[in-house]
């Protein structure tokens, strides 16, 4: 199911520096057509269906249509990703709908800390050649070696 862009819905991310879908696609597939100011998947045959473009599009302009070389027509998986959960609507070929909601994170995006709790230590550079990651060294974990 390569991704596709619904012509009406895409606003080209309002002419911003980089569009959300171009920004996110791990395989460099999404591209903005500068004439129409609409995005498209420039190489559907390389699409992994990771749905990252779908999840990120501010206009909900991107959906995925199952790879036609092996999937029958008519189904869709549609995500709605919030700040801490994701809602999925799964539409079957025969019209049956299933809905699911899953946690995605327990701390808001952009607010995790790498200096809190056990991470709040100063490393001892002189011990760099001893075993142990910095957190483990700090906690004084001792390392087993094989008998």
């Amino acid at each position: 199911m390569p991704s596709f862009v619904i012509t009406e819905k895409c606003d080209g991310c309002k002419g911003q520096d980089k569009t959300a879908c171009m920004y996110i696609c791990p395989h460099d597939l999404m591209k903005l057509d500068m004439d129409s100011m609409k995005a498209w998947n420039q190489e559907p045959v390389q699409c992994w269906e990771c749905y990252n473009c779908v999840k990120i599009c501010p206009q909900q302009a991107i959906e995925v249509r199952c790879y036609a070389d092996f999937a029958p027509l008519g189904a869709a998986c549609i995500p709605m990703r919030g700040t801490d959960t994701i809602m999925w609507t799964v539409k079957f070929r025969d019209g049956m709908i299933k809905r699911f909601k899953f946690p995605i994170r327990t701390i808001e995006e952009g607010s995790l800390s790498i200096t809190d709790g056990v991470q709040d230590v100063q490393v001892d550079v002189s011990k760099i050649k001893e075993q142990g990651l910095y957190t483990q060294q700090a906690a004084g974990v001792t390392y087993p070696v094989p008998a």
Partner: protein, 656 residues
């Protein structure tokens, strides 16, 4: 054909950006994010600079871009020695036990951090039921670090709500980079959308790293990085074999289609020793969508059978034992494939996994609400990491609680972190293990200053996402140590202009010749990258044991295939790229070709069938412990483009 030259007569010369750093992290996946995180802690106080370059956006790059539904390596209540036994067995007796044992010592720390950073981890409820990460928090369940009980699918695996797994790990990795940037006062130390094509060696010492070169897929820019030490964190190799999809679906692979063997190709070209490159992973997967089976087999306790309802691992055990003796009983991943393939060849397909029976059985003791939760869990497994498979269910009107699904062994992948062990030969930790497994810096390759982790580090599979992160951290710490020991900035021989000409040649070729015919796709003067990939995939499939021979190859088939690969190597310099996007495809395919040849040469060298179910040598169908219970290593000469393959000793460290 005439050799091609690029003197920028038909395209604009790119801007050349030269960036100097101390630690260069190539890739921004699980391993490299671990490296960035750990290295920051050791490097920043000393003003040592850390730079990351990722071909994509760190938020969603690498194998975990879509998410994952499980963390497959969490030691917890178990112990490291047992982990080594498990991995050794699954990898058919040959593994770097020092690396595996070492990994088991660190891995849980990364998992605990993930949870700290906001990754929802399933927990056991009071009645032993499964709670998702939010329910567990609401129920006040402690974190793993605090003794919370994970929902174990297997002895080593725990369940998570992993849709945002990479976003979270990436955020921490980027935070480490940002802390380092601030500490060292550099302007930029994260380069996204830059594809690295090769590592540069020191001009005086070719066995030492000095930098790397790549290009932006967004702007007309060449990037030259100078560094003291570099990490290869580029993941595994995907789509170098013909897949089972035929058209639109070819981007659907189980492993990430964007990881193109850069680790192995760049490592080899830099002179680093490779190990067990004959090894591959052929996962049995839900057909077409490549949905993973782990949760289904381990958590939901589903059974797979042939079309006659037989458990092929039982009915074919005797036949398998003829060649593979004791390895059949200590059954591992490839052996399960082997027994499935026996039945497929015999026409006893389709092979099905009985999701319906599994869910109905689990449901027998559940009330309606719990049953709904179970159904959601079943769907989440795919919606978290293989959404296509959920799509395949929906498209075929298949509800997993009502009908079974077909299983299919996939095309081969090379990777060092999952149930496979291809990769670079790296130094072990040094505090135990034999002397020939240690050369100064944990996870350093045989090239001085060049490190790797995750899929890049060979002979030590079953790290998975968590282990890759932890191993990246180990490497990060070692890299800082290496930097401290080697404070001088090395230099390379290549000039900026030479590098620019080399990297952009495919674009010059396109601009120069494409007008010759009325269709730029069909032109006698060049070949487009997509066709290079198709040709490579077909050669590998037909001669190197792909799906269309049921993974069968032989000395004669390999020799034939290598002669075709040789011509492909001659032809790849004629690749043409219309734009930066296609230039990316050109270089990805160069990497695939080098990695693929390593694979073929290693299979040719190892005269036995060590991994039945992954591939077969028709001329040496059995396992031959007498002669081949050893590592097979190789080096590559980037000038002659030839591999030399040889043996290295396997040392058993953990007794049976």
């Amino acid at each position: 054909m005439e050799p091609k030259v690029n003197n920028f007569e038909h395209i604009e010369k790119p801007e050349i950006v030269v960036h100097e750093t101390d630690l260069l992290l190539i890739g921004g996946g699980m391993a490299a994010c671990g490296t960035a995180y750990e290295a920051d802690k050791w490097a920043s106080p000393q003003g040592i600079r850390v730079t990351m370059v990722d071909k994509a956006a760190v938020d969603r790059s690498g194998a975990v871009a879509m998410g994952l539904s499980a963390i497959n390596t969490y030691v917890g209540e178990n112990n490291a020695a047992d982990f080594v036994k498990y991995v050794r067995q699954d990898l058919m007796g040959i593994t770097r036990e020092d690396l595996v044992y070492d990994l088991a010592r660190w891995v849980d720390d990364s998992v605990h951090l993930f949870e700290d950073w906001g990754l929802p981890v399933w927990k056991k409820g009071d009645d032993n039921e499964s709670l998702d990460g939010h329910q567990a928090a609401k129920a006040g369940k402690p974190s793993l670090r605090e003794g919370g009980k994970p929902v174990r699918s297997g002895k080593w695996q725990i369940m998570i709500n992993g849709e945002s797994y990479k976003v979270i790990v990436g955020e921490a990795g980027k935070a480490g980079l940002e802390a380092n940037r601030v500490a060292t006062g550099v302007e930029q130390n994260l380069f996204e959308r830059v594809f690295i094509i090769k590592v540069l060696n020191d001009k005086d010492d070719p066995t030492k790293v000095a930098g790397a070169v790549g290009f932006s897929v967004r702007e007309n820019k060449l990037y030259i990085f100078k560094c003291k030490t570099a990490l290869l964190g580029c993941g595994g190799c995907v789509n170098f074999f013909r897949g089972r999809a035929t058209a639109e679906g070819q981007g659907r692979a189980w492993f990430p289609v964007w990881n193109s063997g850069s680790n192995y190709a760049m490592g080899a070209e830099a002179g680093a020793e490779l190990v067990l490159m004959e090894n591959r992973f052929v996962p049995a997967r839900f057909k077409d969508g490549y949905g993973p089976v782990g949760a289904w087999f381990l958590l939901f306790k589903a059974k797979a059978t042939n079309a006659l309802g037989e458990d092929y691992c039982v009915t074919n055990a005797d036949e398998a034992r003829k060649y593979y003796g004791k390895y059949v009983d200590a059954i591992g991943t490839c052996m399960r494939n082997h027994m499935m393939i026996i039945d497929m060849k015999a026409g006893k397909g389709p092979i099905k996994i009985h999701t319906d029976v599994a869910l109905q059985t689990l449901g027998e003791t559940l009330d309606k609400k719990a049953m709904k939760h179970l159904e959601a869990e079943a769907w989440e497994d795919f919606l978290d990491m293989s959404i296509s498979q959920a799509g395949v269910w929906a498209a075929n009107n298949m509800a997993p609680e009502k009908v079974p699904s077909e299983l299919m062994p996939s095309e081969p992948y090379m990777l060092g972190s999952h149930a496979g062990c291809a990769g670079l030969w790296v130094s072990g930790p040094g505090d135990f293990g034999p002397a020939d497994y240690f050369w100064g810096y944990n996870r350093m390759t045989t090239v001085k200053g060049l490190f790797t982790a995750g899929d890049g580090a060979g002979a030590s599979g079953h790290k998975f996402s968590s282990g890759s992160h932890a191993e990246g951290r180990v490497a990060g710490k070692s890299m800082v140590a290496y930097c401290m020991d080697n404070p001088d900035m090395p230099a390379f021989a290549e000039t900026e202009d030479e590098l620019a000409a080399e990297v952009f040649l495919p674009m010059e070729t396109y601009a120069k010749f494409s007008g010759y015919t009325t269709d730029p796709d069909i032109n006698p003067e060049y070949i487009r990258p997509v066709m290079v990939q198709q040709r490579l995939q077909k050669i590998m499939d037909e001669y190197v044991g792909g799906t269309s021979t049921y993974y069968m190859t032989s000395g004669t088939m390999l020799t034939e295939g290598l002669s075709y690969l040789e011509m492909l190597k001659e032809d790849e310099v004629h690749m043409a790229a219309e734009d930066l996007h296609e230039l990316l495809r050109a270089w990805e395919n160069h990497h695939r070709i080098v990695a693929a040849e390593a694979h073929a040469q290693h299979i040719l060298f190892r005269e036995e069938t060590r991994y039945p179910g992954y591939y077969y040598r028709g001329d040496f169908l059995a396992i031959d412990d007498e002669n081949w219970k050893c590592f097979t290593n190789s080096t590559y000469d980037k000038n002659t483009r030839e591999f030399k393959v040889f043996k290295r000793d396997y040392h058993q460290i953990i007794p049976e």
